[in-house]
């Protein structure tokens, strides 16, 4: 009760401070010899206020204060403490408060960490960021206040959706938001730099750090969500082209493109307009993501009950941000006409431009696949869905030239170059083609496109791993990231080509048998936990080599809310994952059993970790050099 009051008023105060900051920024902008200390302290004050408000919400959850509507809707006294805390951002209101917290945190860090940049630029970035922050304050207080009050106070809360009660999902939103919100800094500073016309090599190396930070967090955030979907949703895959997944992939694609573009700008002072456009679109796509997920427009497994008023607000807010940025872009941006002077077809920048084109193509495929059903629904009220085949068909073939460009591109020099070790590169290409041909021949999965695809991924794999062994350590972070990507593509390919699946209905004591596998449903036992009952099944699975595995998937029947969830049992090894999940069908004796063998599953996660590690390394290397 008291906590809600404190939380609510610190939000209101934070909004006021935002207005004060804008006022001082305008004043300071006219003097602009030094940065006004007041601005920094007010930004810090705002951060503290939002943090206080967030803390109050966490405490309300911890103490199960059901007079707070958010707590009432999403918590329950029997829930373990860890999930009471993670429940704070497991709902709409709390997650927006977290957005706001990260927004204020990042702008504060930006202010104190940015050195050697013009004062005007810092102030202007702060002002743009404050516009976003104020927008979020108003949104939070108006349409989704986390501190709404219920009277009379209910005895017990409604509980958190059990599929969200999971360690991976507890940290998934904060990490993802760090990535999303990091793009807001890029957005604000790109606009500020455009206004002052200081988009230069110096600016590029300054903003590159922020791009890397948000890129690393976004990559990790997406991976965590994917791991969660893999073991919790019981579909036995890691990516479903679900709209909610797509909206996180879109900013990632834009951010990755931006990351590569910044490298060119840092070295050569070209592609300035393109960098600005990318900065704007990355943030717009992040906002779109929030809008689409939170408005309930998306027809997706992730959609929980939502309120159209909120959607409208974000839409209007988003629209005005885009308008402002377009205005800034066309009004202030003076394109540099000497950009194309030293242009050569065989150079690093050409390969990066090729990378950009493919990235933009992938982005438009995902974008159209995600929003087309929405538009069709609005225009003709026809309900459609766009499934994985659409994305696979359009994206997979274009990965081939993309991978090849990724292998050769980094070998080229800036400005103009010839390939030095042509011979060994061609040799490696031949070896990769042969290897992939034999792999597919042995496993009798002979498809033309797969052969070429695996060849090009293996090629990238060889080229990058060769560089680890020979002297070239000049760009190890890039090498690690590209190596990770080749590993990712290879594991995904082998995973999808060689996965096997058995789905059957079994009673206790029954056995399923086919040519390779024997599944024996040994027993079930029941267990009572604090907030759920669990049924644990026991299976003996014998494969063609005669090795027996013992797997115990679980069914959880939560009491509040009353939901059944399946907990898969997964035996992970370096070579393959064995995945089993059961489900009960309405008081019948049969259990629905799904058993999958998924090769190289672990490598998918490891390679994503490698990719983000590459980004992280690049971040620290940069700092070290300065």
């Amino acid at each position: 009760m008291l906590l809600s009051v404190i939380g609510h008023y610190s939000l209101v105060l934070g909004l006021c401070v935002g207005l004060v900051i804008i006022f001082f920024s305008i004043k300071n902008f006219q003097i602009s010899e030094y940065l006004d200390v007041k601005i920094v302290s007010f930004t810090f004050l705002q951060l503290i206020l939002v943090f206080l408000s967030f803390l109050c919400l966490i405490l309300s959850f911890v103490f199960s204060d059901f007079s707070n509507e958010t707590v009432f809707n999403n918590s329950h006294t029997t829930k373990p403490l860890f999930y009471k805390i993670s429940g704070t951002w497991g709902n709409h209101e709390g997650s927006l408060l977290l957005w706001l917290l990260v927004l204020t945190l990042f702008i504060f860090l930006f202010l104190i960490k940015t050195k050697n940049q013009p004062i005007k630029y810092k102030i202007l970035t702060l002002s743009f960021q404050q516009i976003i922050i104020i927008g979020f304050f108003v949104f939070l207080i108006q349409t989704s206040n986390p501190f709404n009050y219920i009277y009379p106070t209910p005895e017990e809360g409604l509980g958190l959706n059990p599929i969200l009660q999971d360690p991976a999902l507890a940290i998934h939103p904060p990490i993802l938001y760090l990535g999303y919100v990091g793009s807001s800094i890029i957005f604000s500073s790109a606009l500020a730099a455009t206004c002052l016309n200081i988009i230069s090599k110096k600016w590029a190396s300054h903003i590159k750090k922020w791009v890397l930070i948000s890129w690393v967090f976004l990559t990790l955030g997406i991976m965590l969500g994917s791991i969660w979907a893999y073991y919790e949703l019981g579909w036995g895959g890691f990516w479903f082209w679900d709209p909610v997944e797509n909206v996180s992939l879109m900013p990632w694609l834009a951010l990755t493109t931006l990351l590569h573009c910044i490298l060119v700008l840092e070295k050569k002072q070209v592609l300035t307009s393109w960098v600005i456009i990318l900065s704007i679109s990355t943030f717009t796509l992040s906002m779109c993501g929030t809008f689409l997920v939170r408005s309930g427009i998306l027809n997706s497994v992730h959609t929980f009950a939502n309120d159209p008023g909120r959607g409208l607000f974000i839409l209007v807010f988003l629209f005005s941000l885009v308008l402002i940025s377009l205005f800034v872009f066309f009004f202030f941006h003076k394109s540099n006409h000497n950009e194309l002077n030293n242009f050569s077809w065989v150079s690093k920048e050409t390969s990066i431009i090729i990378n950009n084109w493919f990235m933009m193509y992938f982005l438009s495929v995902v974008l159209i696949g995600t929003v087309y059903p929405i538009f069709l629904d609005v225009l003709s009220s026809e309900k459609i869905s766009v499934g994985p085949p659409f994305y696979h068909k359009l994206i997979v073939p274009f990965l081939i030239p993309f991978l090849l460009a990724m292998a050769i591109g980094p070998k080229l020099k800036w400005v103009k170059s010839n390939l030095n070790d042509k011979f060994s590169m061609i040799l490696l290409l031949i070896i990769s083609v042969l290897i992939s041909f034999f792999i597919l021949k042995i496993f009798e999965a002979n498809f033309l496109i797969n052969t070429i695809l695996i060849s090009s991924a293996t090629y990238l794999f060889f080229i990058t791993s060769r560089d680890f062994f020979i002297k070239k350590f000049n760009n190890i972070s890039q090498n690690i990231a590209h190596f990770g990507f080749s590993l990712l593509i290879l594991s995904i390919l082998f995973n999808s080509l060689f996965s096997s699946e058995i789905i059957t209905n079994l009673k206790v004591g029954e056995t399923f048998e086919d040519s390779n596998t024997k599944i024996f449903f040994k027993s079930i036992k029941q267990k009572e936990e604090k907030n759920f009952k669990s049924i644990i099944a026991n299976f003996n699975i014998k494969n063609s080599k005669g090795i027996t595995e013992n797997l115990s998937p679980e069914l959880r029947i939560y009491n509040q809310p009353n939901i059944v969830t399946s907990e898969a049992d997964i035996k992970t090894s370096m070579i393959s994952d064995k995945f089993i999940v059961i489900n009960i069908v309405q008081n019948q004796d049969y259990f629905n059993v799904r058993y999958q063998v998924k090769p190289f599953m672990l490598w998918i996660w490891l390679s994503v970790l490698l990719i983000s590690f590459g980004g992280l390394l690049s971040l620290f290397k940069k700092k070290y050099e300065q």
């Binding site: 193509y361 766009v386 659409f390």
Partner: protein, 138 residues
């Protein structure tokens, strides 16, 4: 003649345009082929002709209609006006229950019989897929 710069810029714009047109063409073409339409049992009854495209059917699982055997599950999807028989062998999501909303994806055998390849999971007890809500509403 034109300078190198103008030529380059021209070439660049032409390339961008070609890629753009190709992209749009490719995307639209495969959208046409890969889109899955949603239909309610009543809409299926009214279909003038049946084709073998993949569709989604949604509605309620009829009470006492689930029949399970070792290799398949049979049930009836109803929108309280018309109903359709569904047979399915595959993984069943957690919230698949009699009297609850369901969306099944698969192929129509005829107007009364649907062979499903996937049943879609929805992860909230109170959540009703918007299509199902609409299909039940009118």
């Amino acid at each position: 003649m034109y300078g190198r710069k103008v030529k380059l810029r021209f070439l660049f714009i032409v390339l961008v345009l070609i890629t753009l047109i190709l992209t749009v063409f490719l995307i639209l073409k495969s959208l046409e082929e890969n889109v899955v339409y949603f239909q309610s049992p009543s809409e299926i009854k009214m279909l003038s002709e049946l084709d073998n495209k993949k569709i989604r059917v949604g509605g309620m699982v009829k009470k006492d209609s689930i029949l399970i055997s070792a290799n398949e599950v049979k049930f009836i999807i109803t929108d309280f006006k018309n109903e359709i028989n569904v047979s399915y062998s595959g993984a069943i999501p957690n919230l698949f229950e009699e009297g609850k909303g369901v969306v099944a994806e698969g192929f129509l055998k005829d107007r009364y019989f649907f062979s499903a390849t996937k049943i879609l999971a929805k992860h909230d007890e109170n959540y009703m897929p918007p299509e199902v809500k609409e299909a039940l509403g009118n």
